[in-house]
C-alpha cells in the first residue's frame, strides 16, 4: 500500500497514444486524463499539440472545449500567454474562473489586461472600434460575478473600475453589506488608480448616484465627490435641504462647508454660495433658516475658518524670538541677501499670527531694507497678518499708494503693500479685489504694478474674473519687464485650473516679447492655468516642452507638474524624468526634477526612491531639483527616507544645492520635534552653525535662515500640507509652493510659501459656531508631538554647551560616587529617587497642562537624568488630554480619540482634525465657551515700518 501511494505515471506517452485511438470515448478519456496531468507533462504533450488542436477545430467533435483547454494549458506552461488565452477563450465554460491554480490566475490576469486595455482604447477612439471578443467579455463578467458571489467585493470593484464596467461596479457596491465603507473605498480607488481624469469623473458620478439612493446618504462624502466633479448646484441643493432639516442636519451642513473650504477651491465655493442666495424659500421658520444660511455662508466664504485660524494662531503662538535674535546678530554684517532672508524668516515664523513684535523691536535694523528688499519687507507684513480680513487694509494703509497722490511713499513699499494685501486675502479676495484693481489702474510705476498684479492674482485666485484679467493684461502689454513678469504670474493665478484658452494668448505674447522676465512670468502663468487638468493639458504641455526657448520649456515642466499634481501619473513621471536627464538647459532640468515632487505628493513614500539617483547627479541643478522634489512631496511628513536623502545634500559642495536642501529639509521636518526623530535636533543645530559660521557663503546662509523660519512657521502651529484630510488637493497650498520655488529667479516670491501653511489644530464648534470647552484624548506620548523646546539665553553657544553639560553632570556624579564610595551611596540613591519623583511630578503637571507648557529646563534635566543615570524616572504617560481648541499635528491625528460619554459628540467620526462640528448631547444646559481673541494690536501698523516707507 505504501508503494501504491507513490504510483504515478512517468510519462504522458500512454495517454497521448490513446488520443489516436479510433474510438471517440477513448479520445475523450485521453483528453480528460491529459487535462489532469498537463502541469507534469507539458513538454511531452507539446509535441502533440497539432493533434489536439485539430480535435478542437473538428466541429463534429463534441469535446472541442476540453481540447482547447488542454492546448491552452500547454501554451501557458510554455510561456505563450497570448496563445494560451485565445485557446482558453475557446474552452468556454470549462475555463474555471474560480480555480485557484497558477494557470487560472495568470490567464485571468491576462484576460483582464486584454479586456481593460481594449475598453480603454475603445473609450479613447473617435471612430467605432470592432467589438470586443464576446468570449473575453464573458470570462471577465464571470470572474466579476464570481468575486461578488464570494464576497470579494474590493477585488470585484477594482476589476470593474479597471475594465470600465461601471454597471458591475454598481452591482458590487449595492450587494455589499458595508456600503458606506465600500463607497469610500471606491473613492480612494478612483483617486489612486484611475489615471484618466474624465473616467474618474464618470466613476465619481456613478458613486454619487449610488450614494443618493441610500436611505441615510453620507452627504459629507457626496459633497466631496461633487466638488471634484465641479457640480456646485447639487452641493447647494444638498446644503439647502440640510439647513431646512433638524439641528443635526444643520451641523452636517456646516461640517460639509468646512470640509469644502479646506480644499481651497475659491471659484467652486463662490459658486455654491451664490446659488444658496437665489433660493431662499419663503417659510414660516424663516428666521431660523436665515440664521443658519447666514452661518453657512460665513463658512463657505472662508471667513469663519480664517477668523478661527487667526485666533488660534494668535493665542497659541509659540515662536521663539531668541532664534531670530541670534540670526539677526549673526548676519549683521553679511549683506543684503541675509538681511532680507531674516525679514522673510520672521514673516514665515509669524505667518498668520499677527505678532510683529520682532519688527517693532528692531525698527532701525529693519529700515536698512531698500528697494526690492523694502518691497519684500512690506510684503512680509501681509504674511504675518495673513487672514486678517477685516483689519488688513487698515494695517497696510500707511504703505498703500494714496489715491491720486503719487510720490507720497516709496513705490517699493507701495508695491509691497499691494502684494501684502493679496497675501492677506489670498484665495478670499472678494472684499479687496476692487481696491486692488483701482490701485493697478491708477499707477504707472512698474514696481507698484508688479505688487498689484501679484496681489490681484492672489486675491482672485482661480476665479477667472474677466475684468481683472483685462486689467492685468493691459499691464502685460506695456511690455515692461518688471511689471510684465508679475502680470504673467498674476494672470496664471487668476486662471488657475481653468484650462482657459487665454493660455494660448499668453503663449503668443511670450513668443513676441523680448524680455526674459516676462517670458518667465508668462510661462509659469500658463502652467498655472493647467493646474489639475491632467490629460486635457497634454497639447499645451507638448507645445511648451517642444519650444526652442528654454524658458518656455521650463514653464512646460511646471505645466506638467501642476497638471498632474498629486496623481503619481506614470506618463507624467516618465516625461519629467526624460527632461531631467536630457534637456540642454539647466533650468529645465532642475524644474523637471522638482516637478516630480508635485506629481508625487500623493505618494510621498515613493519620491525619495525615485529621485535618489538624481540626487547623486553630477549636475548640481539636478541635485537641487531632487532636494526640492523631496521637500515638496514629503512636506510635513517627517519621513525618514526623505530626511536620509536630504542629509548629505545639506553639506553638498555647491552652495545653492545646500540652500535647496536646507529649505527642503525644513519643509519635510516642519512640525516634528526631536523626540519624534533625533535628526530634527541635529538639523536645528546644523542651521545654527551655518548661520553663525563667518566663513559660510551667503547662499547657504540664506537657506539656513529661511529653513529656520519654515521649521518654526506660523508660531509653530502650522504645517505644509498639499492634501486635505479628505485626500483632495489643497489648491492654494500647491500653487503657493509652485510659485515659491520660483524664488530662484525672484526673491519676493518667497512669500508665496505662506499659502501652503495650514494650521495644525482641532477646533470643535457647536451649532452656533462657537468654541465650547471640551476635552479629548491623544493616545500617544505627549513628548512625541510637543512644541520644540525654546532656545536658552546663551543660544549662540548652546549647541556646543549642551553635550558638555551632560558630560559634566555625568562626570560629577561619577566622581562623587567614587569619592563617597560606600558611606554615602545609600543617601545618594535616596536623593536621586527624590529628584526623580519631583521631576515625574513635574512631568505630570506638564501633561495635565493642555497647552503643554513644559519648562524647557525641566525637560532638559529629564533627558540628562535618563541618559546619564539609570532610568529611575517614571515612564512618560502614554496619553494626553487635550482641550478644545488644541494643537494637533498631522502625524498625531490618528491618535486622537473622543472621550466616551463626553457631552459633545463630533458629527463626523473620521478623519479627525481641522474644524469639527460637535453635537451637544445636553442642549438644555448652559455651555462653557472658550473666548478667543484677535491680536490686541489690530489696527496699529508697525511704526518703524512706516518710517521705512517714508525714507
Amino acid at each position: 500500500a505504501m508503494a501504491a501511494a507513490a504510483a504515478t505515471v512517468s510519462s504522458a506517452g500512454g495517454i497521448l497514444a490513446m488520443l489516436h485511438e479510433p474510438a471517440e470515448e477513448l479520445k475523450l478519456h485521453a483528453l480528460a486524463s491529459l487535462n489532469s496531468v498537463v502541469h507534469l507533462f507539458y513538454p511531452e504533450i507539446s509535441t502533440s499539440i497539432p493533434a489536439i488542436e485539430s480535435m478542437y477545430e473538428d466541429d463534429e467533435f463534441d469535446q472541442r472545449q476540453l481540447a482547447a483547454l488542454v492546448v491552452s494549458k500547454v501554451f501557458y506552461y510554455l510561456g505563450e500567454l497570448n496563445d494560451a488565452l485565445s485557446y482558453a477563450l475557446g474552452a468556454g465554460p470549462l475555463f474555471d474562473v474560480s480555480e485557484d491554480s497558477d494557470y487560472a490566475q495568470a490567464l485571468l490576469a491576462k484576460a483582464l489586461d486584454e479586456y481593460a486595455s481594449f475598453k480603454t482604447r475603445a473609450s479613447k477612439a473617435m471612430e467605432e472600434l470592432e467589438n470586443v471578443d464576446p468570449r473575453l467579455e464573458t470570462i471577465v463578467e464571470r470572474m466579476l460575478e464570481r468575486c461578488i458571489l464570494d464576497g470579494k467585493y474590493q477585488q470585484a470593484m477594482g476589476m470593474a473600475v479597471e475594465c470600465r464596467r461601471l454597471d458591475k461596479l454598481e452591482e458590487a457596491i449595492v450587494q455589499c453589506a458595508n456600503i458606506h465603507g465600500v463607497l469610500s473605498y471606491c473613492i480612494s480607488l478612483s483617486h489612486q488608480y484611475v489615471s484618466h481624469r474624465e473616467y474618474r469623473s464618470e466613476i465619481l458620478r456613478c458613486l454619487v448616484k449610488i450614494y443618493q439612493t441610500l436611505p441615510h446618504p453620507d452627504y459629507l462624502s457626496i459633497c466631496q465627490c461633487l466638488m471634484v466633479l465641479g457640480e456646485p448646484e447639487t452641493v447647494a441643493d444638498i446644503l439647502d435641504t440640510l439647513l431646512s432639516g433638524s439641528q443635526d442636519d444643520a451641523l452636517i451642513a456646516y461640517q460639509i462647508a468646512f470640509d469644502l473650504v479646506e480644499n481651497e477651491n475659491q471659484a467652486f465655493l463662490l459658486n455654491v454660495g451664490n446659488r444658496l442666495d437665489s433660493q431662499t424659500p419663503v417659510d414660516p421658520k424663516e428666521a431660523a433658516h436665515a440664521d443658519r444660511l447666514a452661518k453657512l455662508k460665513g463658512i463657505l466664504s472662508g471667513e469663519k475658518s480664517i477668523q478661527l485660524t487667526l485666533q488660534f494662531l494668535y493665542s497659541h503662538n509659540r515662536s521663539d524670538l531668541l532664534i531670530l535674535k541670534t540670526i539677526k546678530q549673526a548676519v549683521e554684517t553679511s549683506g543684503n541677501v541675509c538681511h532680507s532672508a531674516t525679514i522673510c524668516s520672521n514673516a514665515i515664523m509669524h505667518a498668520g499670527t499677527t505678532v510683529d513684535t520682532f519688527l517693532r523691536e528692531n525698527l532701525e535694523w529693519l529700515s536698512k531694507a531698500t528697494n526690492w528688499a523694502k518691497f519684500s519687507a512690506t510684503a512680509g507684513l501681509g504674511v504675518i497678518h495673513r487672514g486678517h480680513l477685516q483689519q488688513g487694509r487698515a494695517l497696510m494703509a500707511p504703505y498703500l499708494p494714496q489715491n491720486g497722490a503719487v510720490g507720497g511713499g516709496s513705490p517699493y513699499s507701495e508695491g509691497g503693500a499691494l502684494y501684502a494685501l493679496g497675501l492677506i486675502h489670498a484665495n478670499h479676495g472678494e472684499g479687496i479685489k476692487q481696491f486692488l484693481r483701482e490701485s493697478l489702474r491708477n499707477t504707472s510705476a512698474e514696481v507698484i504694478q508688479h505688487g498689484a498684479c501679484l496681489g490681484l492674482g492672489l486675491a482672485s485666485l482661480g476665479t477667472a474674473d474677466e475684468e481683472v484679467f483685462e486689467d492685468i493684461k493691459n499691464v502685460l502689454y506695456t511690455d515692461s519687464a518688471v511689471a510684465g513678469e508679475a502680470a504673467g504670474i498674476g494672470m496664471g493665478l487668476l486662471m488657475v485650473g481653468t484650462a482657459s484658452e487665454k493660455a494660448g494668448e499668453m503663449l503668443a505674447y511670450a513668443h513676441d516679447t523680448q524680455h526674459e522676465k516676462i517670458i518667465r512670468g508668462l510661462a509659469l502663468g500658463i502652467a498655472l492655468t493647467m493646474y489639475g487638468r491632467e490629460e486635457e493639458a497634454d497639447t499645451l504641455i507638448e507645445q511648451m516642452t517642444r519650444d526652442q526657448d528654454p524658458i518656455l520649456r521650463y514653464g512646460g515642466m511646471y505645466a506638467l507638474a501642476l497638471a498632474y499634481r498629486g496623481t503619481a501619473n506614470n506618463k507624467a513621471i516618465h516625461q519629467l524624468l526624460h527632461f531631467a536627464v536630457s534637456d540642454v538647459s539647466d533650468d529645465v532640468r532642475r524644474t523637471a526634477v522638482m516637478g516630480l515632487g508635485f506629481v508625487l505628493y500623493n505618494e510621498p513614500e515613493q519620491t525619495p526612491r525615485i529621485v535618489s539617483l538624481l540626487s547623486e547627479s553630477y549636475n548640481p541643478h539636478v541635485r537641487y531639483g531632487a532636494a526640492l522634489a523631496v521637500g515638496i512631496s514629503c512636506a510635513g511628513t517627517g519621513l525618514s527616507d526623505a530626511i536620509s536623502l536630504l542629509e548629505p545634500l545639506t553639506s553638498d559642495v555647491v552652495d545653492f544645492v545646500r540652500q535647496g536642501a536646507l529649505i527642503a529639509m525644513a519643509i519635510v521636518m516642519i512640525q516634528t520635534n526631536e523626540s519624534f526623530d533625533s535628526r530634527v535636533g541635529t538639523f536645528r543645530r546644523q542651521l545654527q552653525k551655518i548661520i553663525l559660521d563667518k566663513h559660510e557663503d551667503t547662499m547657504s546662509k540664506m537657506g539656513a535662515i529661511l529653513a529656520s523660519g519654515i521649521l518654526d512657521a506660523g508660531g509653530r502651529n502650522v504645517t505644509i500640507k498639499l492634501r486635505s484630510r479628505n485626500k483632495h488637493d489643497k489648491l492654494t497650498a500647491v500653487i503657493g509652493l509652485a510659485v515659491f520655488t520660483q524664488f530662484w529667479h525672484w526673491y519676493p516670491l518667497l512669500y508665496f510659501i505662506s499659502l501652503a501653511f495650514s494650521p495644525t489644530a482641532i477646533i470643535g464648534l457647536n451649532s452656533n459656531l462657537e468654541v465650547p470647552k471640551f476635552e479629548f484624548m491623544s493616545h500617544a506620548k505627549p513628548s512625541l508631538f510637543e512644541y520644540p523646546k525654546p532656545t536658552t539665553q546663551q543660544a549662540t553657544t548652546s549647541a556646543v554647551e549642551l553635550p558638555t553639560a551632560i558630560l559634566s553632570t555625568y562626570a560629577k556624579a561619577k566622581s562623587r560616587a567614587k569619592k563617597d564610595a560606600e558611606s554615602k551611596a545609600a543617601a545618594n540613591q535616596e536623593k536621586t529617587a527624590a529628584e526623580a519623583e519631583s521631576k515625574a511630578a513635574n512631568q505630570e503637571k506638564s501633561t495635565e497642562d493642555a497647552s503643554g507648557s513644559t519648562s524647557g529646563k525641566a525637560a532638559d534635566a529629564m533627558q540628562v537624568d535618563s541618559s546619564a543615570e539609570k532610568k529611575a524616572a517614571e515612564p512618560e504617560p502614554a496619553f494626553q488630554i487635550l482641550t478644545n481648541p488644541a494643537r494637533v499635528v498631522p502625524l498625531q491625528e490618528k491618535f486622537i480619540k473622543f472621550i466616551e460619554g463626553s457631552r459633545y459628540v463630533p458629527v463626523r467620526p473620521a478623519p479627525c482634525g481641522g474644524f469639527i462640528l460637535l453635537r451637544d448631547t445636553q442642549p438644555s444646559e448652559a455651555e462653557e465657551l472658550v473666548v478667543l481673541t484677535d491680536a490686541p494690536a489690530t489696527g496699529q501698523p508697525v511704526p518703524g515700518a512706516s518710517a521705512m516707507a517714508v525714507d
Binding site: A1, A3, A4, A12, G14, A17, M18, A23, S33
Partner: protein, 223 residues
Amino acid sequence: MDPKLVEVTQLIDRFKAAFKASNFDVCSTLLSQLKVLLTKFPSLPPVFQQTPNAVEELKLAREIYEQAVILSVKMEDQDAFERDFCQLKPYYMDTCGIIPPSSEEYPIMGANLLRLLVQNRIAEFHTELELLPAKALDNAYIKHGVELEQSFMEGAYNRVLSARQTAPHETYIYFMDLLVKTVRDEIAGCSEKGYDYLSINDAKQMFKFSSDKELQQYIAEVN
C-alpha cells in the same frame, strides 16, 4: 465481484476464444469494447486511485493491452502496435509493485525494440534501452534485439539475416521478415554501386535467398 470486472473478464474470455480461432476482426471489435470499458476503472494510470479492486483492475487492464499488442502483430498493424504498446508501458514502468510482473513483459518489450529497429528509429531504440534496468539486458528477448541492432549497425547483414531462425518468440517473425527486407534493400543499394554485374549464384548468396525464384521476385519488386 464488481459487475464491471465481471463484464471485462467475460469479454476477455471471448476475445481469447476468437483469437484462438484466428478470428481477428471479432478480436479487434471486442478489444475496442474492452478499452472503452477500461476507461471506467479509476485505478488505472494516470490516476492510480487506490480502490479495493485496484490490483484486479490493473492486472486485467495489463492483460488486455498485452493482448492488444499481440493482436496488432497478427494483424500486421504497426500503428496499432505503437499505440497499444505506449498504453501498456505504464503498467510495466509505473505500477511500483502493486501488481506482480507479467510473464509477457520482456517478450513484448523485445518486440517493441524490433519494431523500432524495423522503422529505423534508432534514437528511440536506445531511449527504450536506457529506460530498462541493467539486468534486463541479460534477458534473451532483449538481448536478441540488442544484438540485432549491433549487427545492423556494423553492417554484418549476414548475421541479421540468419537471426530470423533464432527468434525467441513467434511474434518476432513478423518483424524479422520486415527487417530482412530492410537489410536486403541496404545490400541492394550498396551492390548497385559496388558491382558492375553479379552472377545469379553470388547474388543469391549475398541476399540469402534460398531459390532463384525468390531472387527474381525481389529483383522485380526493386525495379
